[in-house]
Symmetry: C2
Amino acid sequence: MSDKKIPYKIYLEESEMPTAWYNLRADMKHKPAPLLDPITKKPMTAEALAPVFCDELIRQELDDTTPFFEIPEEIRSFYKMYRPSPLVRAYCLEEKLGTPAKIYYKFEGNNTSGSHKLNSAIAQAYYAKKQGLVGVTTETGAGQWGTALSMACSYFGLDCKVYMVKGSYELKPFRREVMRTYGASVTPSPSTETEVGRRILAEHPGTSGSLGCAISEAVETATKHEGYRYVLGSVLNQVMLHQSIIGLETKTALDKYGIHPDVIIGCAGGGSNLGGLIAPFMGEKIRGEADYRIIAVEPVACPTLTRGVFAYDYCDTGMVCPLAKMYTLGSHFMPAANHAGGLRYHGMSTSLSQLRADGLMEATSVSQTDVFAAAEEFARVEGILPAPESAHAIKVALDMAKECIVTGEEKTIVFGLTGTGYFDMMSYEKFHNGQMTDYIPTDEDLAAGFARLPSIDS
Amino acid sequence: MSDKKIPYKIYLEESEMPTAWYNLRADMKHKPAPLLDPITKKPMTAEALAPVFCDELIRQELDDTTPFFEIPEEIRSFYKMYRPSPLVRAYCLEEKLGTPAKIYYKFEGNNTSGSHKLNSAIAQAYYAKKQGLVGVTTETGAGQWGTALSMACSYFGLDCKVYMVKGSYELKPFRREVMRTYGASVTPSPSTETEVGRRILAEHPGTSGSLGCAISEAVETATKHEGYRYVLGSVLNQVMLHQSIIGLETKTALDKYGIHPDVIIGCAGGGSNLGGLIAPFMGEKIRGEADYRIIAVEPVACPTLTRGVFAYDYCDTGMVCPLAKMYTLGSHFMPAANHAGGLRYHGMSTSLSQLRADGLMEATSVSQTDVFAAAEEFARVEGILPAPESAHAIKVALDMAKECIVTGEEKTIVFGLTGTGYFDMMSYEKFHNGQMTDYIPTDEDLAAGFARLPSIDS
């Protein structure tokens, strides 16, 4: 049934690797709305962003007209250390399912950070170094971004200060040790190192922290220390730009074998992986050169695209960061604690939000018990233990491939497999022991979040 | 300085992948001595091994004349799921060190088992399935072999019973969960499931178990259950045969670019990875077609090749398994508990032992604090977090590359990077916190082990 001329794993030659990132915004007819200053509610300027972010990254953040940004030679060298990532033809899975569908996945987990996050971390570290900075600060929750940034900083000899949500710091000592192996300092947040940390600790002595708080600490540290800037692993346009390497490699690999995907599927948290994977395909779709179904998959526990509203909102819980126009559940929305499967962010990248609003991208949500079942089904056949986040895409791809058995359609399905689940075994254990439950926010839960949205004329 | 025509990562095409395993014994002038029955002290026959091992694996175990064994199509398909593994040119490391040496490493960690163990696990599971068996049993200490076997069994729909050393079972719950994800049953050893387990529990109620005890339980379960056999992840000839895929791919990749290695370095525990990596090179060396320095690296804490004796000894602590002629520290030797870096086996594959005795292979030992320092140095530049076992080879490769800075030699160094250290972060943490100490057995420690060697005329 399967066309064995296509190898199990398509690796590009070094000479075929992308030399420029693709800025999808340049092709978008409706540009994503600008970030607004949280005080003045006016569009953020480069000057206003300069104390927080690196100069070149601000330039990339604000540029929605330049279609390609050349990848500096140093970053291309680093990419060659762990890229190109394989585009895998899931022959084993197809055979096991007995589906006429052709399934491909772009696997970003073959590097020590365990995910696609390294693609942007190395770029951000490079520009920080080039600007002559001493170091960068960031926050991390589960730890994938913190790990990636630690690796990138160690490569360029930059100091790296990571504020790790205290609950996660205590539950995931191994993640912390990987970061320390790469020379990063890892501080449980809230900490006594910052004003905001001390204030929160005074108010909530026993708190296990939150991403919003860790962001605030990282931003404070960056702005108060000479030679430091703050960096972020998702949501921002610059991150989507760097992550376009995923989609560009995927497209080159597919084109090489004359494969036209019918559907492209990715999981969606803040949007970095999905935005990167779909970028060149979406570009073709917008320009009318090709058509693809493009599907964002999110957890039912945090249904930003499927049940959120498209409006200006704060990017952080602390409401100190700029406002972004995006699909959002409100900056105070938090999925219930029993949601172990990642993708907990209340908002979504402004570009992806705009594409969704324009009807160019579909969105669907899945429950976490279904996601872990799909993860296990996939692992047993394809030999890769997926991160729970990635398994959201797997779940939808599996469902579609199973439908093809019924309909007989030979659909070509491409999905993003963003990373590995080595550090998520506690969640797998819950699943194996039948202790995993699902959480679906009620309409009332959501209404409470929407009620706190800022009112902005957009 | 570096010749950029060679890519960072050499991936073979599927069409270049080996189609047969190479049996180094066929080319050895002094064959490894036969396994002996622990009771009769006569060479083990296929009949005597049949209740314990799969038939085809026994055939491979006992055959020291057939140079190549064709890899069955089903195994080749599975190999394509995660192989070829990359042969990496360590440009980043060379540049950082400023060495004129050219460094290559064969990286076996890009699969969920995290190591080379999968190469043999899939072969052993295949032959068990082909024989119509229901399942297999095995023991695991750190868990890499157990994970690999679980993956292989899940692929072929075989039951997999893993006896995991109790101390490890409790300290490494994540390893256990990965195995469960692949459908294996994982039992802490000693258990009440077997006679030997019950006996040991009665004698030592609070014991945290040992590999020797877990082996005994796995063997008992295999022989007492219809349709089960016992499988082993190292030491045996059959394992070395399957692992030759590592060396064959490495040699094909080097030949493709006209690279002649001066030195080949691998870590040595039971010998599976080292034996596999060096096989085709050693074959050339024995046949006088080429010369290479070949170096086995072991921990000072368990100095089998550097301070052991070459004699017949039991393969297991329980002294129920066959006797093998090998370098050994005595079947009761155990490295001190502070030795966290793996490679704890008292003996060594009979083939590698014979090669060492014949002066065809060098051996050296390194201390674990040096090993972890080398692991960290490597991780920060090459972006891969190595397993402590693999880092033994890294340590020696780094030392040699640094010597080349002084001597100006442009040595070509190839080493085996057998796996990743994601599940070893507790040891890394000890190292980061300055709590890691070294253990070097005294001559008296070793003499105690040698005193218990069986006396065999060989």
